[in-house]
Subunit: 677 residues, 2 copies
């Protein structure tokens, strides 16, 4: 051990027992991979000793109550080692039957190639895309800190759990992990203890090809506590975990030196063992070498007994916590009510009535309206927290002025720094934790930087809210590097993600409401930098903005029963459609304006509603959106037109850009008129 | 200075002169921002002293030959400080007239809000999206190392230049920069000298809100040399640059402590000066405070004289280099020929004839065919280099077995580590350097991790090649975290990027050829993990794969002159279309199969060609692609169908996935048959 300050671990570790339990985990893991004829044996073989040390001696959980609020979380950030996690879940009594281990990587099993959080209890995060689990854990640890600041009282610490993760070389090379590590150090998250499977091998070969930095020193520079240990020595690992628990003002990284594929006589310490089954012969030799039964998926009775005893022991701690909670229900009723409310994340029935009302006489940017809406809703929803990647002054995604800072976790406004990807992973973890719903904001063009996390929010059905402002070429002078054009289509392409681009302040308020009403999917809100007119919905001219919930609605009805053409717009282009419809009316045409803030919502509507809004009989349609045309032919067909921006933007004032790129009322009218002749 | 080993700078610095020159740069910068009423005065004011020290005393360039191969490169990674760069280009004699400074951020100017590399000589990289310039510079430095290893001989070092960059807090917080930094340290790139504008202020306020790590220690842990200096002290800065030049086995980071908005009496050292014009009054006060003329866009004659003298001095060095080159043309003719060939990056006229031929009897994955094609082409094209984000064993994107390692720059196979975003930025820099064309590879799903760089390759017209394998749900057991579905549409949404998904080995070879033939746009190659049949193009049944160059072509013509329906497929789904057409023929239908590997190419074809392939009269069309349907209605209209995967995938063997998701010959036939009835 490099850290001489480490005291003897407080936990009494029976190294032989841990090694035996670890070998059983190894056997299950390589059997699973071999049975599937696909998977990654190297990590489970290498990491089993320290992983079992953690699970058997430290991790606090109750498999009968897998969402226990004060459980320790364990994240397998190196998700390719999934059989390690599935094996541990099985042995620790979670709902992970042996048949599932035998169905590893098969259709319909709860044991996919990489862990998916919604597949089984005890899988805290969807991992595999490297670095994401690392960041998710920081988000969960932040959530626990935020929660503790709200519900703990001296003597009644309801939340004092840890977040553990197993991270790999690959995790640590990823920028998303480095961003999250930097921010975790910034916040001094002492409830983070990560174990690094430091085996000097990656897929392409030894890490000396690509990764030789001084990891401990690097993390210390980011305000982390680090210890280096032999990852195959349970006593040393336990001592390091204990020491890390005592460091309460810094996250900890334990560098566990291991041999990848440990136990495999011919493949250990080689990249060949990383991602391919051992093969029948080497599997046999490995089991012999480890001294475990040749029988497939074998668990010795004494292992079952040992795990059962540990789970019983943990149940004791769980019961104590429940007793503490019960006591607190009388002594600190308000705190416990808060705890319940946070994990319920209920929306008040009258939430819609709390939406702000905007004055049609005062044009306002939807980013600004978004702030008004967010703060109005935030007052009702104490579990709504979030922030920005160093752009809150610009995105206006500020739920309250109470800052989240090191040692100050009572706030709600999070300063993620210029770390979009880390923000994405942290917000995912924060939201998946269960007590909060998180949001993160940046400019729309920088959604690219965090796409890996946005995808996982959608895949894992995490109801995060991604607030993306400066949503078009009309941000103006900052130029094409900052002007999104492809991002509408790129975000819409992600399954399970709702992309909402509201057309004015009132729609923006409904967009926030809709995002929060959807409790199982993430939402991206695309908001303008520039001011937009506020449509006067009190008049007959414009329909109520609640139509946003249907994704598209008839914003402004055609003048008479004859429908000549339809203009479909989103966001700032809806005003152009309204203006064009008015122009065309002067020419005697009867034109409908459809506001389509959310294609995903609209596509889920019944056929009858979609037909009502966009009647098949009306082929004269023009869609207007200041981004690429990709995807719009679905709504306008071969016979319609799309006014789009199928190129990168330009640096200039917004009004000039609108002229140059054809986003004018006149051009919209001209294009539809050409279809009406 | 923290580094006591720093010797007295070799350069004789007149601090008063540098400060005067810097103040003129400050004046031009704040005038530009004020004139545009938009922009970022804080960085130019803060960084001018050290930037001018660098430009005036160190940077080797010739404004008359802006692409001089041995010039030092300067990258303004913190692109928001663009007026600093434009001002320096103007003063240093580049083709950057004063009128352009006065047209800052206006339509049609060469001075957009953030620097764009194609806008003017001397702008080495498009910057603004933070961290990208940092990574680009690493790519350029790597290119210089690769080039030096090829063309230098003892006594005739044709390439010995440096890459300098100005980086900010925001750059260093970004994961893409951290990844690139880690890899630069790994390679020991001693030709990198970055100056960090360490001003402790970011957009949202003081960096203590979000970024307090020990940057020097962190970079030292990544094998960088660091020095900390007062960024307003030209002598100290010069000494640090000289010291950094002497450290030849490590990249250098010079932490320049500065005051953001230096000189502004009321706004210096505040986030308010970061991104908003000073205002007329504060601008006036700032100029008074700095002791410079109140006149807008004023350059004193003595400044012009000083810069002219410096440029003349630099011309001497340039002439010496040209003399060395001339001498080498006789003494080392082969090396000089190589130098010329690298910067020409010409394709031999007979390159198509070098494409590999594949045996129709042997199914092969397109990732494997891609390797065969890459290596065949690579033999002809010595300037083609690249690698993988630790997945070369899987992506097979290996141009040669000669590795690029620290101190070994004669190779071509680059081990980027698990750093997709860093790889993207490095490949962009490597390619933009001019002597190489770079490629980078990973799994298609992880294109998300590097999208920021892919976008910039497209925006800046950098002809990089992005090789994305494991291109569909048919990668199988690794599951939804690794299975791309939205990525086809997401990549196609990017303007200027050609996305090619070849249907078999032969198309794959043409895809590589097409990618290389396009010298102004990046290309993404989407390749399978699984084996695919090799179509026998020697028969009448299948058209030649050269049709790929048109983006879509009639792969298999309908049976008779009557055209009943069209099946359109890409990649692995083309074989399903062929099978379905054969099935439907048995039912008496005459069905055309169109292979559409590249929508971008197809959309650029003349109307006549597009009409020939997809006749308007034939509305019975089914498009088949194992990704989201977004975008396909453009080719099938309201009346056609899309067989797609509008959800995340599943972990299972590929054959089972095909059954479950409807990607079978039978289903394709059934869907088209329903349109034919």
């Amino acid at each position: 051990m490099t850290d001489t300050a480490v005291q003897q671990g407080e936990v009494n570790v029976d190294a032989a027992l841990v090694r035996r339990l670890a070998n059983t985990v190894r056997g299950l893991s390589i059997d699973g991979v071999q049975n599937a004829n696909s998977g990654h044996p190297g990590l489970p073989l290498g990491a089993a000793d320290f992983a079992v040390t953690l699970w058997y001696h430290f991790l606090r959980f109750n498999p009968q109550d897998p969402r226990w609020p004060n459980r320790d979380k364990f994240i397998l950030s190196a998700g390719h080692g999934s059989m390690l996690l599935y094996s541990l879940l099985h042995l620790a009594g979670y709902n992970m039957p042996m048949d599932e281990l035998k169905s590893f990587r098969q259709f319909g099993s709860s044991t996919p190639g990489h862990p998916e959080s919604f597949m089984a209890d005890g899988i805290e995060a969807t991992t595999g895309p490297l670095g994401q689990g690392f960041a998710n854990g920081i988000g969960m640890a932040l959530a626990d800190k935020l929660l503790a600041a709200r519900v703990n009282t001296p003597g009644a610490e309801l939340i004092d759990c840890f977040v553990y993760a197993l991270v790999s070389d690959g995790d640590l090379m990823e920028g998303v992990a480095q961003e999250a590590a930097s921010y975790a150090g910034q916040l001094g998250l002492g409830n983070v203890i990560y174990l690094y499977d430091d085996n000097s091998i990656s897929l392409d070969g030894p890490t000396e090809l690509s990764y030789q930095e001084d990891t401990a020193k690097k993390f210390e520079a980011m305000n982390w506590h680090t210890i280096t240990v032999d990852g195959h020595d349970p006593v040393a690992v336990a001592s390091a975990i204990s020491a890390s628990q005592r460091v309460t003002d810094k996250p900890s990284l334990i560098l566990c030196k291991t041999i990848i594929g440990y136990g495999s006589p011919n493949k250990a310490n080689s990249s060949g063992v990383h991602g391919s089954p051992l093969g029948d012969e080497e599997l046999k030799l490995t089991k012999e070498n480890l001294g475990i039964s040749p029988e497939a998926f074998h668990v010795p009775d004494e292992d079952r007994d040992a795990w059962a005893a540990r789970v019983t022991e943990l149940k004791g701690g769980y019961d104590q916590w429940q007793a503490k909670l019960s006591a607190a229900r009388s002594s600190n009723a308000d705190k416990v009510a808060l705890l319940d409310a946070f994990f319920a994340r209920e929306l008040p029935a009258d939430l819609e009535s709390k939406l702000p009302v905007f004055d049609p006489a005062k044009p306002v940017a939807t980013r600004t309206a978004g702030k008004t809406a967010l703060q109005a809703l935030g007052k009702e929803l104490p579990w709504l927290v979030g922030g920005s990647a160093d752009l809150s002054v610009s995105t206006n995604a500020i739920v309250s002025d109470d800052k989240v800072l090191e040692g100050e976790f009572g706030g709600r406004h999070i300063f993620f720094g210029v770390r979009e990807h880390g923000m994405g992973g942290i917000v995912n973890g924060l939201t998946q934790h269960g007590a909060f719903r998180g949001f993160g904001s940046t400019f729309l063009t920088f959604s690219d930087y965090m796409r890996g996390s946005v995808r996982l929010s959608a895949l894992s059905e995490i109801p995060a809210v991604w607030v993306y402002t400066h949503d078009s070429i009309f941000l103006g002078e900052d130029g094409p590097t900052h002007q999104p054009v492809e991002h509408y289509a790129a975000l819409r392409s992600i399954p399970n993600l709702s992309v909402i681009r509201p057309s004015d302040a009132t729609e923006t308020a409904y967009a926030w409401l809709a995002a929060l009403e959807d409790r199982t999917h993430p939402t991206a809100l695309l908001l303008t930098r520039q001011n937009l007119p506020v449509l006067d919905r009190s008049t007959d001219e414009f329909a109520p903005a609640s139509g946003l919930r249907q994704g598209a609605y008839i914003l402004r009805r055609e003048r008479d029963s004859k429908l000549d053409g339809i203009l479909i717009g989103t966001g700032s282009e809806v005003q152009l459609c309204v203006g064009a419809a008015q122009l065309l009316e002067k020419d005697g045409f009867s034109v409908r304006v459809v506001s389509m803030p959310c294609q995903e919502y609209f596509d889920k509507q019944p056929d009858s509603y979609r037909e009502e809004v966009l009647p098949t009989s009306c082929k004269a349609r023009v869609a207007v959106e200041a981004g690429v045309s990709l995807g719009w032919h679905k709504y306008v067909g071969f016979e319609g037109k799309v006014i789009a921006c199928d190129r990168f933007g330009a640096s200039a004032p917004a009004s000039r850009i609108a002229q140059e790129f054809g986003f004018t009322t006149e051009n919209v009218a001209t294009r539809l008129r050409s279809l009406l002749k």
